[in-house]
């Protein structure tokens, strides 16, 4: 009976016609020729313990995981002084303490929570990580690296681009010609240049224009560049959402006497943003991965740090590079997949409450 049902299922879903049958076989072949060798390399013949390159040398050996285990601290903090890394950990934990309740819809006081996350926490985190306050040992940004830099660039980009993007989107739809023109020029300028160019400009060109004696940190300059760049993208995503809100919504709100900002904040934006959650998260994910480009202006983000450790003679093995990049890909994937899943969760939740 069950065998019969399984055969039926196979026939209906995989072999319903000769063409579908051929496709099924082709896909099976591709999966078969890709997955087992990879698992063989990553798990079966991989080296799991050992000290130094000798452990991973030898014919037929797969991934060199001890290289990853031995360098986890470098991947996470870069050259940040080991005895001060607790400050980074503390800043990170304080961020998590704000982020987790923010992401759980049931937890109350969202406005305070958001205020902490967007205003208070960044200041605390900067003080802790940079340490440029009396009583704390300062750590130059040149020493920052690894996941620390990746997260700093990504979080700054996300936190800054969201409100900036909303303002730019509203500006682009404004009835005031000056504001509209400025918004369009800003958006089209930043969308028209590659991020690599922006970063080069920020790190190489900008210092030439600054007055003598004014020094802007390289990381800071890149942060500003990334934030402005991504806010232009965010603006266009939000604008798409604004256009999807019927004009009648705006008119009804205005007819009730609500001001422009009340209308936007209470009526239009809640509906607009809800409809573009996939686009917003898409932009965040893109931004997260684009942070790897800071490598070219001499900042060592997570991927850059992996590459540095790869050039370490102590770990130089034939499988080292592949292992490093697979690990890097896995880490990026975990972050991006997390964001993606959360957005699906939010969409479902928001749609459950109301039927249009």
């Amino acid at each position: 009976m069950t065998v019969n049902a399984a055969v039926k299922w196979l026939k209906r879903n995989l072999f319903s016609s000769w063409w579908n049958g051929a496709l099924t076989l082709l896909v099976l072949y591709i999966v078969w020729s890709a997955i087992p060798p990879f698992l063989d390399w990553a798990i079966v013949h991989a080296v799991w313990s050992g000290e130094g390159r000798e452990a991973c040398l030898g014919p037929g050996k797969g991934a060199c995981w001890p290289f990853i285990f031995a360098n986890l601290d470098q991947f996470a903090y870069g050259r940040y002084p080991a005895e001060l890394r607790w400050r980074v950990d503390l800043a990170f934990l304080l961020g998590l303490a704000g982020l987790v309740p923010m992401l759980i819809p049931r937890v109350p006081a969202k406005l305070w929570n958001l205020g902490y996350l967007v205003v208070a926490w960044p200041m605390i985190a900067i003080v802790l990580i940079a340490g440029d306050r009396p009583g704390l040992v300062g750590v130059d940004t040149d020493l920052w690296g690894g996941l620390l830099v990746t997260l700093i660039v990504a979080i700054t980009g996300i936190v800054a681009s969201f409100p900036l993007g909303i303002l730019l989107a509203l500006g682009r739809r404004s009835e005031m010609p000056v504001i509209r023109t400025l918004s369009i020029v800003f958006i089209e300028f930043w969308r028209g240049v590659p991020l690599v160019t922006v970063l080069f400009m920020a790190s190489v060109m900008l210092p030439l224009f600054l007055p003598q004696g004014v020094h802007l940190d390289n990381l800071l300059r890149c942060l500003v560049g990334v934030a402005l760049f991504s806010s232009a993208y965010m603006a266009e995503v939000v604008r798409g959402g604004l256009q999807a809100v019927p004009r009648g919504q705006y008119e009804a709100a205005r007819a009730l006497g609500l001001s422009y900002w009340q209308t936007m904040g209470l009526i239009v934006l809640p509906q607009a943003l809800r409809s573009v959650i996939p686009g917003i998260v898409n932009t965040f994910i893109g931004l997260f991965k684009d942070t790897t480009l800071v490598l070219i202006v001499g900042l060592f983000d997570f991927l850059g740090q992996v590459r540095i450790q790869l050039s370490d003679m102590h770990w130089s093995t034939p499988q080292g590079a592949a292992t490093g990049y697979v690990f890097a890909a896995l880490v990026y994937w975990v972050f991006c997949f997390g964001m993606s899943r959360y957005s699906v969760f939010m969409e479902k939740r928001l749609n459950a409450g109301q039927i249009r």
């Binding site: 019927p246 008119e251 009804a252 709100a253 007819a255 006497g257 609500l258 509906q271 809800r274 249009r356």
Partner: protein, 249 residues
């Protein structure tokens, strides 16, 4: 009151263009406090545009419009003052879909009139009872029928305690069996002495409650008269033609 004759809405020599299209041509209309006006006319005659000028959802290009003594100009403060006193009901209801019925009703009193939440909710429930749907207060607009949504829209406007109510074809988007429940609410409102301007094709409603029927065609007010006179002895040929069409049978 002594000055009930004082116009609460004064529209004088108003012209408006949409690009090249002359939608309103030298329109003059004066509405006294407590008066019920029905504006009728073929589609594209400018009747919706006219009432949308009264709360400045549309700006007029020439002439003068004053509401409750406040002249409508570019001045945003004054426009907001006028909008607080003028309630509007739309053809497409335009309820806020992301808020419950109760939140729809309390939004403006809380944010514009700065009422405490409890007070605004009490008022809202009173008006929801008046439009006979208090039991729907915690639902979302998408869960209601068209007629129910339009009654919520009326309650939402009433919650601001307006001096004037504008109705822009309030029954045109409704299924026939729901028209009556909305008209009943409007009739009740009229009997309570609310100043009302209704753009509508419901001639039965016009007969029953209107003090004056205003007939518009091609951007002009062609004729205005009390309903008995308007329906039995229309003066202009255009009015006759329109009535013949709309009252066929």
């Amino acid at each position: 009151m002594a000055d009930t004759k004082k116009p609460i809405i004064a529209i004088e020599h108003v012209d408006k263009w949409f690009d090249d299209f002359h939608v309103l041509k030298d329109v003059n209309l004066s509405v006294a406090e407590g008066e019920r006006i029905v504006i009728a006319g073929p589609s594209g005659s400018g009747k919706s545009t006219l009432i949308r000028c009264i709360n400045r959802l549309e700006a007029h290009d020439k002439g003068r419009i004053a509401v409750d003594g406040i002249e409508l100009t570019e001045d945003l403060k004054r426009i907001d003052e006028v909008r607080r006193e003028v309630g509007m009901v739309f053809q497409q209801f335009n309820l806020f879909p992301h808020m419950t019925v109760l939140e729809n009703c309390t939004l403006a009193p809380i944010w514009v009139r700065k009422q405490p939440k409890e007070e605004a909710e009490a008022t809202a429930m009173r008006f929801l009872e008046r439009v006979r749907i208090p039991e729907q207060a915690s639902k979302y607009p998408g869960q209601l029928s068209g007629g129910q949504q339009q009654r919520v829209a009326i309650a939402r406007a009433l919650c601001m305690n307006p001096k004037i109510m504008l109705f822009d074809e309030p029954t045109s988007a409704l299924d026939p069996e729901m028209i009556k429940e909305v008209l009943d609410v409007m009739v009740g409102l009229a009997h309570d002495g609310m100043t009302m301007i209704c753009v509508t094709h419901e001639m039965g409603f016009a007969r029953e409650v209107a003090d004056r029927v205003v007939f518009m065609d091609q951007g002009e007010i062609v004729e205005e008269a009390p309903p008995t006179e308007f329906f039995t002895a229309p003066k202009s040929e255009r009015t006759k033609a329109f009535l013949a069409q709309i009252l066929r049978g």
